[in-house]
């Protein structure tokens, strides 16, 4: 089992309404888009997330400016199209948007490498949100914990996580790029995960 400690400041806590629904700004936007195809809500979301997506598209990747634009547009349009698949009771809006961004990036890389595959990144990504209330709560607590602890990671560990996650590189690609032994890369990842209290249950 994980030890769960909620160390978040009050101001960072998402508001929960009487029905237990998360009412932070981004899940509200997604709900409005799903229910009413609300363009104003989409525009708010677009103004916040497109600049983050652009960072992903440009960071450490070999994407041309055109492909980077294409990626930003594609992610945001997917968010618009898929909004009704978002369930505010089970997931955080930012996590849901992140998974769309991650999958679009992977699919674009594969398209550019001319992969001929019947599988999309979504087909092989993690399974849908759990229906189990305990698992949902557990997940939420992990999220809060990770978001507070991540600021305390040493630079060398944060740098490698950024390459693995935001640049989509495997540990061995990171090892080649930073000219570090693979074992060092792996041990930094392992140390970072320990600090974030992310461990496999025994």
């Amino acid at each position: 089992m994980l030890t769960v400690t909620n160390t978040l400041d009050d101001e960072d806590k998402p508001l929960i309404d009487a029905d237990g629904k998360r009412i932070d700004e981004w899940s509200e936007c997604l709900t409005l888009i799903a229910q009413q195809q609300d363009r104003a809500a989409f525009t708010r979301l677009l103004r916040h997330f497109a600049p983050l997506m652009k960072d992903v598209a440009l960071s450490g990747s070999t994407l041309s400016a055109n492909h980077a634009h294409e990626l930003v547009q594609e992610v945001m349009l997917k968010v618009w199209q898929k909004a009704s698949g978002f369930d505010a009771e089970k997931a955080a809006a930012s996590t849901w948007i992140y998974t769309i961004a991650r999958n679009c990036r992977t699919d674009l890389y594969r398209r550019l490498q001319k992969f001929d595959t019947p599988l999309s990144a979504e087909d092989v990504s993690d399974t849908p949100d759990s229906d189990d209330a305990f698992v949902v709560l557990h997940q939420k607590r992990s999220r809060d914990r990770i978001r507070s602890l991540i600021k305390e990671l040493p630079n060398d560990q944060a740098q490698i996580l950024a390459k693995v996650y935001m640049e989509g590189k495997t540990h061995s690609e990171v090892s080649g790029e930073l000219d570090l032994p693979l074992g060092t890369v792996k041990s930094r990842v392992r140390l970072a995960l320990q600090k974030l209290q992310l461990q496999l249950e025994r």
Binding site: I33, A34, F42, T43, L46, A50, P51, L52, K54, D55, L58, V72, Q73, M76, L77, W80, Q81, K82, A83, S84, G85, S94, T95, I97, Y98, T99, A101, R102, N103, R110, Q113, F115, D116, T117, L119, A121, D123, V124, S125, D126, T127, S130, V135, Q139, R143, I146, R147, I150, L161, A162, V164, Y165, T170, V189, R190, L193, L196, L198, L200, E201
Partner: protein, 207 residues
């Protein structure tokens, strides 16, 4: 419940979307059926979301934002029916890759006990194959050329290092070991198998 799982670094690469396609498919099938790995994969995805949320925003011009807004009418919102798992016990990824059932596949007989069917994932650097070992059959001792992931879909087998059952996930690295796998009596085993290509495309560790 399986006893052999992917290492956490591998699940991290999986959750980050950085694993090569064939490996991601193999890990995904294990994760779908292993609650423990599912939980940690979910948390590792939260880690990605936290890194994403903390990125330095890069200014996006109004013309680009408007280009997205202008396309909204063309991109119809998708309707989500409640997706229920199909009744089939075959993992969805395999169903997609096989376009049929195990019996419809083209199998190559490697020996009297082992047959193999290669599935096309589109991953240029990894093979992805189903292995079928006849119940009670033995596979000759062999060495591993590339990193191999094995996931047991049905039945089980054992080797010098242990006994493996449905859902177990194994990784064998080059030169790491040689072992003579033996299929458990009266069980049938088939599993997807992904291996980095090195030279001959059909070469396999099964000897």
């Amino acid at each position: 419940m399986s006893n052999f799982h992917p290492e956490i670094e591998l699940i991290t690469e999986y959750a980050a979307g950085s694993l090569p396609l064939a490996q991601a498919a193999c890990v995904s099938i294990h994760v779908t059926h292993c609650r423990r790995c599912q939980r940690i994969a979910g948390q590792l995805t939260e880690l990605g979301a936290s890194l994403f949320a903390a990125l330095e925003p890069v200014p996006v011009g109004d013309n680009q934002l408007n280009a997205v807004l202008a396309r909204l009418d063309d991109e119809r919102p998708l309707e989500y029916a409640n997706k229920k798992d199909s009744a089939s016990s075959t993992p969805a990824i395999l169903q997609r890759l096989m376009r049929g059932d195990f019996s419809d596949l083209k199998w190559s007989n490697i020996s009297s006990t082992l047959r193999i069917s290669y599935l096309k994932t589109g991953d240029p650097s990894h093979e992805f194959a189903l292995y079928h070992i006849r119940a009670g059959g033995r596979i000759p001792q062999h060495t591993h050329r590339g990193t191999e992931m094995t996931l047991i879909l049905e039945g089980g087998f054992s080797d010098a290092n242990g006994s493996y059952h449905k859902g177990d996930f194994l990784v064998r690295r080059p030169g790491m070991c040689t072992h003579p796998p033996r299929c458990n009596p009266r069980t049938v085993s088939a599993w997807p198998y992904s291996m980095r290509r090195s030279g001959s495309p059909t070469g396999s560790s099964a000897g």
